[in-house]
């Protein structure tokens, strides 16, 4: 597999940056050119990301596509990239959604078009960087880099309360990530203290033997940062504001990818670095997750703004993701990873849908709609399918994830499983109620009577979403086979490490460190 040595990840990261730089020199009046250029560029990026899927070795349970270069060797900072089955799928989701985002901004964005697309390409770079970085400093840089374009997207191209929402989003997230920075440094110095090596390499740091108390603190700092990003109840209040004010594409990316950074952070950093603390935190996180599921759903019932409603539904859906992850069994974990993708597709799709009616009516209030099925039958069909996928109807993508998560949760703790399953009922209630109020009934407002149905561009966007809804719902194996080995290896590793810690504390003596299952795949070619 000599192809493995092609630096796919670096190309993926910097290709959008190149596009952004190229756009700097574009004439700002050539709006159409800028749009087509960005579309082609993101499509190319998507095309580049596809080989990852083919070349990804699904039998290897560790890191693949490793790229390593020294950056500040004396401080142990390196440019270290690599992905496993989890980040692979998330990267594909990112490149896929970015294309849709460019498409859906075709008409919605009319001011500062050039800057908008530059921002978007920049955002794509940061997201893929954060998903593939294996060095804590590198990860932190990309993590913070994601904030800036998102802040700009909300603050410049957002709705009426955009400044408030943007600042809230920025500060909320910052508050968490600063704590994470402290924890990163603490971990760094701890590792040096223990082994005499300065390194930010996560794969090395996984081997650290951290005393329990310290572990709790560090886990808390990481978890706090990621929990805000997820967002877990009760750190979720930035989300409705950010979503409501962001432009459609911003909402799609925010829901589709940025929120996953929180859950991904748990998977990649918080849990494997501090396994004993993670296991100790299972009740707390599970209860917060269930709280999020139920609370988010109840909040949805109260919303009068469609976008706010979908934002709260994200809180509920991400609650499932966290619950599954902290079930610590294969079904829960795989369901959780799958649910991340599902949420990107279905909630992303819902935001696209809302964006489309917003473009037509310039309002998002449920009360301003009603009876839209009459003037827009094709739109209604798409909306219906995506709604159903969001309430996890069997046959759609949502079901596979939700079923596995609930099964996993039920296996690890029956009470959690039962409580979380109530979300299934509530989910149907709020989504269908919203759908009814928007789409069914008589057309009451004159403006709604002559709404145009979806045009070709919108149909293309929605068709791709619907295609994935069914593909992922009916043939999930296509995605599962890429993450099966990773998930199994991951669990074995995390559980082994946790057992090691509990043994070490019980015997008060140093036990042999368990064998590292989570290793990087060696590259065949020594030249690289």
């Amino acid at each position: 597999m000599t192809d493995m040595n092609f630096p796919f990840l670096s190309v993926l990261i910097f290709f959008p940056l190149l596009g952004a730089i190229a756009l700097f020199f574009a004439d700002r009046k050539q709006v159409r050119f800028i749009r087509i250029f960005t579309l082609v560029w993101t499509l190319l990026e998507f095309a580049v990301s596809l080989p990852l899927y083919w070349y990804f070795d699904e039998t290897w349970n560790g890191i693949q596509f490793l790229e390593r270069m020294d950056w500040f060797p004396e401080w142990g900072v390196s440019y270290l990239l690599g992905i496993d089955g989890i980040s692979l799928l998330l990267i594909l989701l990112t490149t896929f959604l970015t294309v849709l985002c460019v498409l859906c901004s075709w008409k919605a964005i009319e001011q500062h078009v050039k800057e908008y697309h530059i921002t978007f390409l920049f955002l794509e770079m940061a997201m893929i960087g954060a998903l593939s970085a294996l060095d804590l400093v590198l990860f932190y840089i990309f993590w913070e880099l994601m904030l800036v374009p998102m802040y700009l997207l909300i603050g410049i191209w957002g709705g009426p309360k955009r400044i408030y929402a943007a600042i809230k989003f920025f500060l909320y997230t910052m508050a968490g990530s600063v704590l994470m920075l402290v924890a990163i440094l603490a971990l760094y110095f701890h590792y040096h203290h223990e082994t005499g090596i300065y390194t930010f390499n996560v794969l090395e740091l996984y081997k650290a033997n951290i005393p329990l108390l310290k572990q709790y603190w560090l886990f808390a700092a990481f978890a706090f940062s990621f929990a805000i990003k997820v967002p877990m109840f009760p750190f979720h209040t930035w989300l409705p504001d950010a979503h409501t004010e962001a432009p459609t594409a911003g909402s799609v990316i925010l829901a589709g990818v940025l929120l996953k950074m929180g859950t991904y952070g748990f998977l990649r950093f918080a849990i494997p670095l501090f396994p004993a603390a993670a296991f100790a935190a299972v009740p707390l996180i599970s209860i917060l997750a269930i709280g999020g599921i139920i609370y988010g759903a109840i909040m949805c019932l109260m919303q009068t703004d469609v976008k706010r409603l979908i934002a709260y539904s994200s809180v509920s859906h991400l609650g499932y993701v966290m619950l599954g992850m902290f079930a610590f069994n294969l079904q829960g974990l795989e369901g959780s990873i799958y649910q991340m993708l599902n949420h990107g597709i279905s909630t992303g799709g819902l935001f696209l849908i809302v964006g489309m009616i917003y473009e037509r009516r310039h309002t998002r209030m449920i009360a301003d709609f009603g009876g839209l099925s009459k003037p827009m039958p094709v739109f209604a069909a798409f909306f219906m399918i995506i709604t159903l996928s969001s309430i996890a109807l069997p046959g759609t993508n949502g079901f596979v994830g939700e079923f596995l998560i609930l099964l996993g949760a039920f296996r690890s703790n029956m009470v959690y499983g039962i409580l979380a399953t109530t979300g299934v009922v509530l989910g149907a209630a709020y989504m269908l109620w919203m759908f009814q109020r928007v789409m069914f009934g008589q057309v009451k407002k004159e403006e709604n009577r002559k709404l145009l149905d979806v045009d070709k561009r919108e149909a293309v966007i929605l068709c791709t979403i619907v295609l994935f809804v069914f593909l992922m719902g009916l043939y999930p194996k296509m995605f599962f086979k890429k993450m099966d080995a990773t998930a199994a290896g991951y669990l074995e590793y995390v559980k082994g490490r946790n057992a090691f810690y509990s043994l070490a504390t019980a015997d008060q003596k140093t036990t042999e460190m368990p064998l590292l299952a989570y290793a990087a795949k060696p590259t065949t070619d020594k030249g690289y």
Binding site: K168, L171, Y172, P234, F235, H236, T237, W238, Y295, I298, M299, L301, M302, N329, L330, Q331, E334, G335, G371, S373, K374, P377, V378, L388, L393, P394, G395, F399, V400, F403, L404, L406, L407, F410, R411, M414, G417, I418, T421, T422, V424, V425, A428, A429, L432, W433, Q436, M439, F440, G441, Q442, L474, Y475, P476, K477, F480, D484, A488
Partner: protein, 662 residues
Amino acid sequence: MADYIWLIPFFPAVGFLINGLSCNKTSKTFVSWVACGALFFSFLVSAAIFVNFLQLPAEGRIFEKDVFDWIVSGELAVRMGFKIDALSVIMCLVVTGVGFLIHVYSVGYMHDDPGFTRYFTYLNLFVFMMLLLVTGNNLLLMFVGWEGVGLCSYLLIGFWYEKDSASNAGKKAFIVNRIGDFGFLLGIFLLFVSLGTQGVWTLKFSEIQPNAHLLSVPLATAITMLFFVGAVGKSAQIPLYVWLPDAMEGPTPVSSLIHAATMVTAGVYMIARLNFLYSMAPDTLFVVALIGALTAIFAASIGFAQYDIKKVLAYSTISQLGYMFVGVGVGAYAAGIFHLMTHAFFKGLLFLGAGSVMHAMSGELDMRNMGGLRKKIPITYWTFFIACLAIAGIPGLSGFFSKDEILWKAFSSPHGHPGIWLLGTVAAGMTAFYMFRLLFRTFFGECRASDEVKHHIHESPKIMTVPLIILAALSIAGGYLGVPHILGGGNRIERFLEPVLGPPQHAVATRDMSITASAWASVGAEEAAGGGSLELILMATSVLIGLFGIYLAYLFYVKNPELPKRFTERFRSLYRVVNHKYYVDEFYEAIFVRGLLKVGGGLMRVVDDGMIEGSVNGTGSLMKRMGGIIRLIETGYVQAYAFGIIVGAIFVAGYLIMKPIM
């Protein structure tokens, strides 16, 4: 043959796709040919399998095939696979057969509706999901169909989405069904996990059955109870029956197909499918039978005081479903399935007949505005009449055999109880009464419609009446599949189902000897020894009660039409309560819907806006206030800053100088 079973659900799926993707661009003729053709082919395949079954020995009557891997994660391996055995082939025949007739009927009924294509798309999707439900070879696939039919029911109830009542009813149906699905899902989890801890990780029926003995009785009880919650939702039993009457907002053929003949019976099918689990849990069986019996009598009583003909039929359906649950609840699974089948015939027919009446009456539903239709729409009248006789349990028609089988089993089976038999028998009389009340008020007496409507009354076209006639024939003949031994029949359907549902349970002696039961045990033993005189007596009782109900209806609504009015005057408050369906809907609305919204509003104010936003914004404003104090130092004068620098420098220098000294 096993290679072809996937064809059964395949045809409706193709029909769904063709019609769904045609975007209203095809002609109505094409749409109806595709939709009906899909069903017809499915029916042919089912029939072929059935014929094939009859030629095979009883043990060989099972075809199973996995098609592809669906959800595979660790120990969980769910495959898309189909399985046909004696039970599912009967279901397939009913679904595709009755479904086909209803499709044909719909071509006439929906002919002028602008949503013609959409209607048939949904209808084909429904049949596909229903067939998935009955042919799936594992629990999860069954759940797919289970939710899928719920979705189609939602779509079809809310078919005329511009009507608020229709879209409300659809939503209600879906959400109430979801409450049931909640139980079903938990049942799957519990079954999977508790079998898994015994080392058998599976959701496949054929693997659960041989390993079911690994479960302890309390576990089996819990699992079956959870599944029963699902059945209660889907099959509209107490306390989740409230969606079914509202579901009548959908087009009438839909009520016939989904809310009478097929979907609502899925709960009965599910219990029959999992009979090996239910037989392990006598407590659950008792609950099933009790809920069934209570529902039967409760819904029948509501049926007394409704004027909307479809509502009456809806409550009648709920009541009949109660019967089926009594059947499966006393362990007489075959009797339950038998009643399911005959009910599909005559209740399907009743709904189609009601549709035909509506068609004639320009959409009128209120029986107070009908009457005297007997002469004007004779085919509808005669078929309707046959269906009424069948449901009332008049000997010779299908309903008699199936209902009586259930009542007899309720009495004699080891899981049965005379109390349940009593409830069932009373409900049978009530059924006869309200059905004939409906018949008499609609077809007899003076026509009370307005002149304009009266002018338009006409018999439905052939495409609608032919299905009526066929169903009427089935309503008569269907019963002869299950003529009990005592009447000289061989109860063929019971024997056919034996490989799946197990031999009929006669073993009264093996039953737990509770105090009330022991009294009956002696009777049962006597019966077992001395031939079926008791069975005959019971049969006669229920027939007599049925006839009495009919007579009462005749008395009230034909002979002496003033009587009902006097009656309602007399028991005014009671009548009001029954007419308002015991205010159950209002109660649910107040407690659950309003309650949830109130909780939501409170949470939003207190937690979201108050606590969380309060603390977040509080932090922000705290910073702002602190900044307000500190900014006073910032005068903006360069020299002030310079002064500050110099003073600071002097202090630092002073400290450095003084440090060695001190």
